[in-house]
């Protein structure tokens, strides 16, 4: 195919788009709406996933040291902890800190009851440890337990397992939803573009009768499909990003938790990329598939 033919296809693609008026409008708006829905749920899923991460990251291991452990032993444990794969961070909690933490857990009126503890602190020194992958907390805890001077390890086994079951279920459902939604979006968009182009089956017939090759006929439709996909994805991208920005401001100011939603910056690029990609890809694909139907004979 010669360069000038490519130029012609591009020009013709734009021309068809504008001469098709309401049909173009109908398909582009259908593409937009579909991608908008997909985008909303994509954002939702990403945030739910993020939230699950945040919750999971609260899980920590408490490793209690022998009551006899001296500061040298503690340093040794620290060194060992550094060696363990999968440990993200650890903090030393002395027996005194441990006691005040313990006391904070009780209501004001019961404080007198605990007064006696102050004198002979029954609590051991301990480490608070976080796993790199919270889902592997159990494994890490086991390794920590094997260290010298560590006599016990707790991380709320049952609660944590239940939590992970819940977060994993949510993640899986989210994934299934998004995959399902992506496919339905792909289907809806290609379907709309098909309807638009198939209404022009007669024209394709005529082009063939005048001696146009398949490639030549496809050209402008390729451009048209691409344009419909791109235009159709720009609108939802703008809406989504603006909407997300305001929602983000609202949620962070209202709930005063900064970490509850993903920040706009890298997310904006991802969403824009995904939607533009889907729009362009399906625009072209839907258009090529429908033209193919008429090119057969």
């Amino acid at each position: 195919m010669k360069i000038r033919t490519v130029g012609r296809h591009i020009r013709q693609g734009f021309l068809n788009l504008s001469r098709n008026g309401w049909m173009t409008f109908a398909s582009v708006s259908a593409v937009s709406i579909t991608l908008l829905i997909l985008g909303v749920f994509l954002l939702l899923a990403l945030n739910v996933n993020h939230l699950a991460d945040v919750v999971e990251n609260q899980v920590e291991i408490r490793a209690f040291l022998d009551l006899t452990a001296d500061s040298e032993d503690i340093e040794n444990v620290e060194k060992e902890l550094e060696q363990i794969l999968g440990v993200e961070s650890y903090t030393f909690v002395s027996k005194d800190e441990g006691l005040s933490e313990f006391r904070e857990g009780f209501p004001e009126q019961d404080q007198d009851l605990l007064e006696g503890l102050e004198e002979e602190n029954p609590l051991p020194d301990s480490f608070v440890i976080k796993a790199v992958d919270p889902q592997k907390t159990g494994e890490v805890a086991e390794k920590v337990l094997k260290l010298p001077h560590v006599y016990d390890v707790t991380y709320g086994k049952e609660t944590v397992e239940k939590l992970f079951k819940v977060t994993n279920t949510i993640r899986n459902f989210g994934l299934v939803f998004i995959i399902g939604l992506t496919f339905t979006a792909l289907f809806l968009i290609s379907n709309t573009i098909r309807l638009t182009i198939m209404a022009r089956g007669k024209e394709i017939e005529i082009m063939k009768l005048v001696g146009a090759t398949r490639g030549f006929i496809r050209g402008p439709f390729f451009v048209e499909g691409l344009l419909m996909g791109l235009i159709g994805s720009i609108i939802p991208i703008i809406l989504l990003l603006v909407g997300y920005y305001f929602l983000f401001s609202y949620v962070t100011s209202e709930f005063l938790i900064l970490n509850v939603m993903l920040p706009l910056y890298p997310l904006a690029l991802q969403i824009a990329g995904i939607l533009l990609g889907i729009g362009a890809f399906i625009g072209i694909w839907g258009s090529m598939m429908s033209v193919r139907k008429f090119l057969k004979i």
């Binding site: 195919m1 005529i206 063939k208 009768l209 005048v210 146009a212």
Partner: protein
């Protein structure tokens, strides 16, 4: 050179349009195809550029084996033929100019050569003033002349015209016939299905009469016939 050997055509719905047609048209000939309505003239013509495939029989055109050729080859066959369709087949979303230019773009003619040539043929069919109109803004005869311009624009070696004067007044029809005569003297093969007795009887050429799907008469310098 166009040749058909015992060609039969039955459409998928069961109606038989051609029953054993054999014919040979040499390069540079001028042939009228006549016959009553529904006799099979258009079908006969459609087989030549492979709009339809024969149910049986062989067709050769300019060295192509038409009924056997691969999908990919068909555009090349069609580019060597200029066709005026009975129902015009103009592209509704393209202007008159673009419709004619389309046939040149298809064969990847350099852009600077397209415009002068398109204007030249539109001048020939007297439609220069309608270049910017869309097909549905034209009268029946104007549409027919656009179809003719498109068929001629690439100077094809064969021109096939199905009823090219059906929507034209006698004066315009004669102008069109003059064009056909001219390109024919320059060596173009012309095959023309027509109902126009006046033209056939005046401008004497070879006449192939089709009746009920069979060639009933094939006569050099023949006349229209079918006097009632």
């Amino acid at each position: 050179m166009i040749e058909m050997q015992d060609v039969w055509k039955t459409y998928p719905n069961g109606s038989t349009a051609l029953q054993g047609v054999s014919v040979k048209i040499d390069k540079g000939e001028f042939v009228y195809v006549v016959g009553p309505s529904g006799a099979g003239k258009s079908t006969f013509i459609k087989l030549m550029y492979r709009e339809e495939k024969p149910t049986k029989g062989k067709i050769f055109l300019n060295g192509f084996s038409v009924e056997k050729m691969k999908e990919k080859q068909i555009p090349r066959l069609r580019r060597s033929i200029g066709v005026v369709f009975q129902d015009f087949k103009l592209l509704p979303r393209l202007t008159v100019y673009e419709n004619v230019a389309f046939a040149m773009e298809v064969i990847e003619t350099p852009k600077r050569n397209i415009k002068p040539r398109v204007m030249e043929v539109l001048e020939l069919v007297k439609l220069k003033h309608k270049v910017r109109s869309f097909p549905d803004q034209l009268s029946g005869g104007e549409q027919q002349r656009v179809a003719l311009a498109r068929a001629l624009v690439n100077n094809p070696s064969i021109v096939i015209a199905d009823e090219p004067t059906g929507n034209l007044d006698p004066d315009t029809s004669w102008e069109i016939m003059d064009i056909f005569e001219q390109i024919n003297t320059r060596g173009t093969t012309v095959v023309m299905a027509t109902h126009n007795r006046e033209i056939v009887d005046t401008m004497r050429k070879r006449v192939i009469a089709i009746e009920n799907g069979r060639i009933a008469r094939d006569q050099e310098r023949g006349e229209y016939g079918y006097e009632d």
